[in-house]
């Protein structure tokens, strides 16, 4: 209390604390959380409804060694990757076209604005009727979940390019193709990447929903069907795996962005 002003300034600064102390606090917070989980599960609740940290870990290990969990994990991950890649490609291409040509933009804007407000999950129902519960419907849904967010971000990126850059290129004699290749695409890359990162999160959400509502494999199905067998430990193992997978995918994405695309000045 001797120097309240000084303390106040320190407290508002993010990097005021030594990294080691922040790290220590985070680690002890995780340990404390796990302990609270373990103790509350063994003392307070029914283990069928609320598995302890240890039994979740055991379930994770045993399901992993039996190969169930690994299989579901690969299936879900494969679906996300395939749909995400296609959706990003389509979204970026269409976004570049719409951003560059006024007539294309005007033509497609009403459609895009209509469909982007319909959540991908809502399409699970028709997709199941049309394509069955197999891979086609999952692919369709993940593409849909990625496409619009990437498209809209790409267009935003193009609209943020300063007009003078186009004017400059033109006065130096660049033709429209060169302008597109050398100015439009590089300048919109950061926005495309941002859209893709959000799209990746949406893809995970959609695929889980689709597997829960209409599917017979994948992590979503595993989690949801464990409920029927009262295997809440398997359920929790699936949830934790899902969190780890989402985290890893996002981390890989950030890494890739930093490594390969740093010259495009991607904002985080």
């Amino acid at each position: 209390m001797s120097n309240p002003r000084g303390q106040a300034i320190q407290r508002f600064a993010i990097d005021a604390m030594p990294r080691s102390r922040a790290f220590f606090l985070s680690i002890s917070s995780i340990v404390a959380g796990l302990l609270i989980w373990q103790i509350s599960a063994t003392v307070l609740f029914d283990s069928i409804l609320y598995p302890s940290a240890l039994s979740t870990l055991v379930a994770l290990a045993s399901e992993m060694t039996r190969g169930n969990l690994g299989k579901d994990l690969t299936i879900t991950f494969g679906r996300v990757v395939a749909g995400f890649a296609m959706g990003s490609f389509l979204g970026a291409s269409l976004g570049l076209l719409m951003g560059s040509f006024r007539s294309v933009r005007t033509f497609f804007s009403p459609m895009v604005n209509f469909f982007r407000f319909i959540t991908p999950i809502a399409w699970v129902a028709p997709a199941t009727i049309w394509f069955g519960i197999g891979e086609t419907s999952k692919l369709f849904l993940v593409v849909y979940a990625t496409l619009f967010i990437v498209l809209i971000n790409t267009m935003t990126g193009i609209s943020h390019i300063h007009r003078d850059r186009f004017r400059m290129a033109r006065s130096f004699g660049a033709n429209p193709l060169e302008i597109f290749w050398r100015i439009t695409i590089p300048a919109s890359v950061p926005f495309i990447i941002t859209g893709m990162r959000i799209g990746l999160g949406n893809s995970f959400m959609t695929v889980i929903g689709a597997e829960m509502l209409a599917g017979n494999d994948g992590l979503g199905y595993l989690i949801y069907s464990s409920r029927l067998f009262y295997r809440s430990d398997v359920m929790f193992a699936g949830i934790i795996l899902l969190g780890v997978m989402g985290f890893a995918a996002d981390w890989l994405f950030v890494l890739l962005r930093r490594r390969a695309l740093s010259r495009y000045e991607v904002l985080s």
Partner: protein, 293 residues
């Protein structure tokens, strides 16, 4: 040469201000040519043409391939939509879905703002809470559906909790980012002029965070629509998700389409109303350009 350009820029700005959505702004390819009124008229024509094309292709596809049942044409879908509206079924379902979303969204936003501001302001809180926030934000709300149903049954509590979960982390992270983005010199200046911590928070941190918080809330609102559909399909007696699921069970695809269209309209309207409310009542805090899906 400068005259018409300046005029165009102005109308582009006005168009964006009067709310024709962010996409239709800024034609950067230095368009020289027809007058402004002529161009907006062409735009409207092209937009009408676009919607017309969509409907024509849709109608044509379903009629030629004889898929009236599996892929009902717009005429059939719209008739079903009107039918459902007339009986009040659709309005009722929409109202239920909206009420659920708003209840969860409200609670989740409040909690998220509180948590995010705490995490942004105090390094200790941030160090303790960050691992959890970063873990849980990668676990989609839908994954919690199974445990939540085990614990709370398939009632309103379960659905509200899922919406709260959907909202809280994205709002918290945005609020935290908002606090982190407050220029340090601003808080230093205020402290130098003798402001207390509480004053700095109220007069500098909070206003500076507001745009971030609003952006987070807008994304969360969109995601809530995703969560509610699944929550209602998997265990509700009303709401749009339930309606859509009924359509699947009875192979009434027109009903499914009507539900989806209603969902899209509600999503669009709530997003528009949210943006409007921000601009009307908190215009100075409105995010500069919001691009959420």
């Amino acid at each position: 040469m400068t005259g018409p350009h300046a005029g165009e820029a102005d109308t582009a700005k006005k168009a964006s201000l009067t709310g024709s959505r962010a996409i239709s702004v800024v034609g950067q390819s230095a368009p020289i040519g027809p007058s402004i009124t002529k161009r907006t008229l062409t735009d409207v024509l092209i937009a009408v043409l676009s919607i017309g094309c969509l409907f024509a292709v849709w109608e044509f596809a379903s009629r030629t391939f004889g898929l009236l049942l599996l892929f009902p044409p717009p005429t059939v879908t719209l008739r079903r939509f009107a039918e459902l509206m007339a009986t009040g079924e659709l309005e009722r379902a929409g109202l239920f879905s909206l009420l659920r979303i708003f209840a969860g969204f409200f609670v989740g936003s409040l909690a998220g703002i509180f948590l995010g501001l705490l995490m942004g302001s105090f390094v200790n809180v941030r160090a303790v809470a960050e691992p959890y926030v970063h873990f849980f934000r990668f676990v989609p709300p839908l994954a919690w559906f199974a445990p939540v149903m085990l614990w709370f049954g398939s009632g309103e509590v379960a659905r509200t909790i899922l919406i709260v979960y959907t909202t809280i982390f994205i709002v918290a992270l945005n609020a935290m980012a908002g606090v982190a983005a407050v220029p340090r010199n601003k808080t230093r200046m205020a402290h130098t002029f003798g402001a207390t911590d509480a004053e700095v928070f109220r007069l500098i941190t909070l206003p500076a965070c507001a745009p971030y918080i609003f952006t987070g809330m807008r994304i969360a609102l969109g995601n809530s629509f995703m969560t509610i559909v699944v929550a209602e399909i998997l265990g509700a007696r009303d709401g749009l998700g339930y309606l859509i699921n009924n359509g699947v069970l009875f192979l009434d695809v027109a009903l499914v389409f009507s539900g989806i269209i209603a969902l899209g309209i509600l999503g669009f309207l709530s997003d528009a109303v949210f943006s409007l409310l921000i601009r009307r009542f908190a215009g100075q805090f409105a995010p500069p350009h919001s691009t959420s899906g």
